[in-house]
């Protein structure tokens, strides 16, 4: 692992953040990426033209929704786009100590899809990869294959936590069945309306997991389905997320990273920043912009590569402690 960094590069202990404004980043999405930096508790955004100039002291990378097994428009070859993503990560000026995959590794939970993903990610230049499942990874076999391959060291249905350089990371599985779902007790069915669900056992674990931490400890939560209500009509939310966020309310800095909706969206609420990542495979429409949330089919190849990619998160050694950088493949 990378040598520990100085604590002062992290958000100041006990710092009180103002309510952060909702970010309207649409103009930047069509560019090569976005840099989000925090200054005085308020995030601002700008185009990312040269990621090489952003040299943070702690950085890690998030990838999401690789959907290995998908082979239709607008991307008949998600293997190639994942390989291109890996090449981008390996070319970063600062080698990430770890990479987080926020779910939907596979498209249909097939063993060969998991094999392919594992093989491609072996070439990532990083120490470790942390995974949480998406519904595509668990819906066929109750998550058995996923947990066998990618759930080592996790608890329950695949949740986990770890500390790195003073930051507490929590990986949550919110594709577990809810009591309101059609088959309570099974795995991957979510809530009654297709929303994500954490379940009582995981919520109890989370409450205990963060109970002993100082309120000044920066928290990073990573999970698949958004923990905020992006668009419930398409299942883009988690029905019991309020309880989870309640346990995190006392912390001065909480960053929630997720995938599932295949596009960059961000909002802040109190001290919590929510950020959804692009897929490495294909984009989905903006909330409510299409009859259904299926893949955006009719995209030219050059446009596709502007709508898929990776996310890099940095604690920058300046007065702006946190930066979330979304980089597209084009």
């Amino acid at each position: 692992m990378q040598a520990p960094i100085k604590d002062e590069s992290l958000p100041a202990s006990g710092k009180e953040y103002n309510r952060r404004e909702f970010l309207k980043c649409a103009a930047a999405w069509a560019g090569t990426g976005i840099v989000l930096t925090a200054a005085g508790g308020v995030f601002s955004s700008c185009d990312l033209r040269d990621p090489g100039k952003n040299t943070g002291t702690l950085s890690f990378v998030q990838i999401s929704d690789t959907h290995i097994g998908f082979a239709k428009d607008p991307n008949p070859d998600p293997i190639a786009t994942l390989e291109a993503t890996v090449a981008k990560i390996n070319a970063l000026p600062q080698r990430p100590p770890f990479v987080i995959h926020t779910g939907d590794l596979s498209h249909l939970s097939k063993a060969e899809e998991f094999d392919t993903l594992e093989q491609i990610l072996k070439s990532l230049k990083t120490e470790k990869i942390f995974y949480v499942p998406g519904e595509h990874d668990v819906f066929v076999d109750q998550g058995k294959r996923f947990l066998e391959r990618f759930g080592k060291g996790t608890q329950g249905a695949g949740w986990q936590s770890f500390d790195y350089n003073g930051t507490h990371f929590v990986g949550l599985n919110n594709v577990v069945a809810a009591s309101s779902g059609p088959t309570p007790g099974s795995f991957a069915n979510g809530g009654s309306e297709g929303l994500g669900s954490l379940g009582r056992d995981q919520l109890d674990w989370l409450q205990k997991d963060v109970a002993g931490l100082s309120a000044s400890t920066p928290i990073v939560v990573f999970t698949h389905v958004p923990l905020w209500s992006v668009y419930p009509q398409w299942g883009w939310g988690t029905e019991d997320s309020e309880q989870a966020l309640g346990y995190l309310k006392r912390f001065g800095s909480v960053t929630v990273l997720n995938g599932h909706i295949h596009q960059v969206l961000q909002k802040t609420e109190g001290n919590v920043t929510f950020h959804t990542a692009r897929s490495t495979a294909y984009p989905q429409p903006a909330p409510g912009a299409a009859p259904s949330p299926g893949p955006m089919k009719d995209l030219p190849a050059d446009r596709l590569k502007q709508m898929i990619g990776l996310t890099e998160v940095k604690y920058v050694e300046t007065n702006s402690p946190l930066a979330i950088i979304d980089t597209v493949l084009a």
Partner: protein, 110 residues
Amino acid sequence: MFLSGCGASRASSTAKIANHTPDEGPVSAEIEIKIEDYVFVPAEATIAPGTRVTWVNKDEDPHTATSTDDRFGSDGLDTGDKYSFVFREKGDFSYYCALHPHMKGVIKVQ
């Protein structure tokens, strides 16, 4: 991919949720249920015992036809994939899509 099953049976080559032997009994009728725009069409189907029901996924996203009581259930159905099941017993059999649980349907065998 074409899966078939019957009664408490399912095609053994692709069945991953349960291990039953394939039903090779007689089929009296056939109906097709389309999965389109995240809806089972028709969502409610009334059939006679011995009818083979075939679900066809017309969407770009994968879906399943999964029984709420584990009586039958498909693997993930990609675009164009089919799954069949022969209903021999009378009763109402509810099912849903395991990827999109708000998608629900019922087969009424009378």
